[in-house]
């Protein structure tokens, strides 16, 4: 089992519903976020293009955050989901520095927090909150080891990319272009 997301940049309108849904689902304090939207503008008027992307922890298979964590709070769960066990976290912030995606933040309660792929929902057979709320259905979540899953299907049939591949982290979030 290997959980991943394939996000369709052709469909994303950057509305940030994913961000709000994550906050209300996971009690993310107002002013912080586990996911966010990036807009990249390219070209000169009128030959301009935009890419909109919903970003979050890439749940990397080769995770610098897990490697650098001195207490083992950052760890892998089933399906390759990278989690922070809050009770073990001392808030040192090494993982925040190590993450090439800026996916982690210091929670006001003293630990480091980030996207969990909504593991509590996934274990109930539900999609993560961001995926399930998206009005454009631009996000696909699923198991890369399941050849019949939609995510495998879209990755087979569409061009895609991942972020900062040069960091060698083997990210599990793919962007359909």
């Amino acid at each position: 089992m290997r959980y991943a997301m394939a996000i369709d940049t052709r469909k994303c309108v950057g509305c940030s519903d994913c961000v709000v849904a994550c906050q209300t689902e996971n009690n993310v304090p107002v002013g912080f976020c586990r996911d966010w939207v990036v807009e990249v503008v390219d070209g000169t008027y009128p030959n301009v293009s935009i890419e909109l992307r919903s970003e979050r922890c890439n749940h990397c298979d080769n995770s610098p955050c897990v490697r650098c964590c001195p207490t083992g709070a950052s760890h892998f769960e089933d399906g390759g989901i990278v989690l922070v066990e809050h009770s073990k976290c001392i808030g040192c912030g090494a993982c925040i520095e190590a993450c090439p995606y800026d996916a982690r933040y210091s929670h006001p309660e003293g630990y480091v927090d980030k996207c969990t792929f909504c593991i509590h929902r996934v274990r109930q057979g539900l999609d993560p909150a961001c995926v399930s709320v998206c009005p454009t259905k631009c996000m696909n979540f699923g198991d890369l080891d399941d050849p019949n899953s939609k995510i495998v299907n879209v990755l087979k049939n569409r061009k895609f990319k991942s972020l900062a591949p040069e960091a060698g982290t083997k990210p599990q979030i793919f962007y359909l272009v």
Binding site: R10, V20, V40, S49, G79, T116, P135, A164
Partner: protein, 747 residues
């Protein structure tokens, strides 16, 4: 530590990424994970699900409020059975809980008093506030007649105050949603097809093969169903053509983006009509069968060639021809979207007519992928005595103007509220429900004069919006999450009913609008119109009439019904349009009879003077009107608006990214607050763009106060549409002021 975790990273800086193709798929699929498994997490608790429909915008998506054991609203999630949202609310709906939890909410009734020569508000009991309103309303009725009470409204609560005024003897009920928004579109389509496109619009975006957006920024306007359907259309490979001086989100997803010179849309539309007719690619069978006035139209558009339009629109003739061909190829599964906010330049009905005519020539009305026929489910009205017949109504305030206004025009009601000797139809009292007139109405001088002259101004709202500062009495309404409301009966592809019930008890001293209306009504001796103690009884009665029950609705939230009529024109069967002749009016005898152009003509509009830029305004997907700028669940996504400036213009003015500037318009009006500069290639060099709804100047909105700029304070030049009274607001131009203006801006 990084300081870069600013809330949402909508910016032009992204992390570098390299596109890889199917060939390099190995890592994504097929490689096995090297990770071992470890311990579990606790599963989520069971929360109570309470049905509601959203009130953050007018789309009214049905959803579920999840309430925790300790009575907190944890989240709001869309109802899977609701075709208006398909289980997916937009960011504003998801963040709707912020309306409930806003610390700045109105908490108790307030009455204006004079204290040491200064006007202020004091807290009042409901009884005192309601008695005061009833007394004043009686005085107004005695002196001037009940018709002298008017209502301005938006949203679900308006219905209860409309009922109150109708029972009282007035039908002077207006909404900015007509003259300030969709009125021109509704009128233009009505004149052409005999009806308009409703709300939610009956646009078949889901199944279209070609979607044309002209002045509609779906994806930034978060009209949920339409955003979802546009995404579906992208999946299905529909051709999207977007006309916009700004690279909108939709434009960025389009096969064709037509970066038009602002104010010239009608020239483009006429040249598209020209190409369809003179290249002989219009839907001949459909036009022959359903339309009249084709020959007149053909003659009329003879000279509106793409070459003619090129000089006006700056769009290349080939681009105009190619896009017209794309539409023709897709016909009748093509939709020239009617838009929604269409009060731009004062000839807006005519522009909407041109859009309607294009749809008519292509055969989209009544065909899959064009415009479908709606069907709704009829819910009987709760019985009440017949309303008294007013001796005059809002039509009289038109004074012979705007003959095609089918709804009250806010500005003529406001005009009728300014006292004048011998004025026959004088308005003396207002109730304002759910609309922040100070921000939504242009022609502010007239508005201020009217508000100063009233004998009574009651504002009902959940938040201390600017308009509350002008009230004699402010009534705190509870939010949609704390009340029963009317059933949502939607006419669309599928007829549906949706229920809103309280997820939690109202906070503070707030009350539902139905209760407020009933209390005022009873004090006016209109108790017979409110034959219930709780609104729940109304719902129970209504549902019983159609063999449903409140219990069942509480369980399902949304009820769908089977259609009884076809969604599209049936092959082989005739179709009568709702016009007088039953045919689509390419040539409008109605307009001609009233002294207007029977077919749209291009008129040139004012252009910015040197150093000024056309002020274009629009929406952001995480905000609604001026209503959400204080919503803590949404503000972090966009705390303030920015003025979009083309890099060439920025260089000319020496403007840097994120620099704050003041804007000054052609009439010398300077913005109250400074606004951040966003230097971007997404905007034309002759225009600037700002998102509407910011720049609040009312301090009780503790978060929103002073953040960003309010576009409507800069909209002082208004072009009124003579056909229906719409207030065209796009003919305003601004320039930049880099240093703080010497004079304190007026508040």
């Amino acid at each position: 530590m990084h300081s870069r975790r600013n809330f949402i990273k909508i910016s032009s800086i992204g992390i570098g990424a390299t596109a890889i193709t199917g060939g390099a798929i190995k890592w994504a699929i097929g490689a096995s994970s090297s990770q071992k498994l470890s311990g579990g997490l606790k599963s989520s608790p069971v929360w109570k699900k309470v049905p509601t429909y959203c009130e953050v915008c007018f789309w009214k998506c049905a959803g579920w409020a999840y309430v925790t054991e300790d009575g907190q609203i944890q989240k709001i999630i869309g109802n899977n059975d609701d075709p208006q949202c398909n289980g997916r609310l937009c960011p504003r709906g998801t963040g709707g809980v912020g309306m409930f939890s806003d610390p700045d909410r109105l908490k108790t009734p307030l009455i204006r008093v004079s204290k040491d020569g200064e006007q202020t508000y004091r807290e009042a009991s409901w009884d005192e506030a309601l008695d005061f309103i009833a007394k004043k309303m009686k005085e107004i009725a005695e002196k001037h007649g009940p018709e002298s009470m008017a209502l301005f409204n938006h949203g679900s609560s308006g219905k209860y105050f409309t009922h109150l005024l109708n029972a009282f003897g007035s039908n002077n009920v207006a909404a900015p949603s007509f003259a300030q928004c969709r009125g021109p579109r509704d009128t233009g389509f009505d004149l052409t097809f005999g009806e308009s496109v409703s709300s939610p619009e009956v646009t078949d975006i889901r199944d279209t093969r070609c979607l044309v957006l002209i002045g509609s920024h779906i994806g930034e306007n978060m009209h949920n169903g339409q955003v979802q359907e546009m995404s579906e259309a992208i999946d299905k490979g529909a051709v999207i053509i977007t006309v916009d001086p700004r690279l909108s989100t939709a434009a960025s997803k389009s096969k064709y983006w037509l970066p038009i010179k602002p104010s010239t849309d009608l020239a483009l539309l006429l040249s598209w009509i020209h190409v369809l007719i003179y290249d002989d690619i219009y839907n001949k069978e459909y036009v022959a069968k359903y339309a009249e006035g084709f020959n007149e139209l053909k003659e009329h558009v003879k000279d509106y060639t793409p070459e003619w339009a090129y000089g006006i629109t700056t769009l290349k003739p080939e681009l105009i021809r190619n896009t017209a061909r794309e539409m023709a190829n897709a016909a009748p599964s093509v939709l020239i979207h009617p838009g929604r906010h269409t009060s731009w330049y004062g000839d807006d009905v005519q522009r909407s007519r041109a859009i309607a005519i294009l749809n008519g020539l292509l055969g989209s009305w009544g065909n899959r992928g064009g415009i479908f026929f709606k069907e709704g489910f009829k819910i009987p009205e709760f019985p009440h005595p017949e309303y008294p017949k007013p001796t005059w109504s809002w039509q009289n305030t038109l004074n012979g103007r705007y003959p095609f206004a089918k709804e009250a025009v806010t500005n003529t009601i406001i005009e009728a509220s300014i006292p004048e000797d011998g004025k026959e139809h004088q308005i003396k009292g207002w109730i304002v429900s759910g609309t922040n007139l100070v921000v939504s109405i242009p022609l502010k001088e007239q508005l201020m004069k009217a508000m100063q002259s009233l004998d009574l101004l009651v504002v009902v709202d959940t938040m201390p919006m600017e308009i509350t500062g002008f009230a004699d009495v402010v009534l705190p309404e509870c939010t949609y999450l704390e009340r029963y409301d009317d059933l949502r009966a939607t006419a669309h592809r599928e007829p549906t009913l949706a229920l809103r019930m309280p997820a939690v008890e109202p906070l503070y001293e707030t009350k539902p609008a139905w209760w407020i209306s009933k209390q005022i009504g009873e004090r006016l001796g209109l108790g017979a119109y409110y034959n219930y103690t709780d609104f729940k009884e109304v719902l129970e009665w209504q549902l019983k009439q159609v063999d449903l029950s409140l219990n069942e609705m509480e369980r399902v939230g949304v009820k769908k019904f089977a259609r009884k009529t076809p969604v599209y024109i049936q092959p082989g069967l005739d179709h009568q349009f709702k016009t007088a002749s039953g045919k689509i009016q390419l040539f409008s005898h109605e307009l001609e009879g009233a002294g207007f152009d029977p077919m749209p003509k291009y008129t040139a509009h004012a252009q910015p003077e040197d150093g000024f830029y056309r002020l274009i305004y629009g929406r952001a997907p995480m905000h609604t009107f001026s209503r959400t700028a204080n919503n803590r669940n949404l503000v972090a996504l966009m705390p303030e608006n920015a003025v979009w400036v083309n890099p060439q213009v920025a260089e000319l003015w020496g403007l840097k990214k994120d620099q704050y500037v003041w804007l000054k318009n052609q009439d010398g009006v300077v913005s109250n607050f400074p606004v951040k500069v966003r230097v971007t290639q997404r905007i034309r060099w002759d225009s600037v763009y700002i998102v509407h709804g910011f720049g609040h100047h009312h301090k009780p909105l503790t978060y929103a106060f002073g953040r960003g700029v309010n576009d409507t304070e800069l909209i002082t030049s208004i072009k009124i549409d003579p056909i229906m009274g719409g207030t065209g607001m796009r003919g305003n131009f601004v320039t930049f002021i880099k240093d703080k203006p010497r004079q304190e801006a007026k508040s």
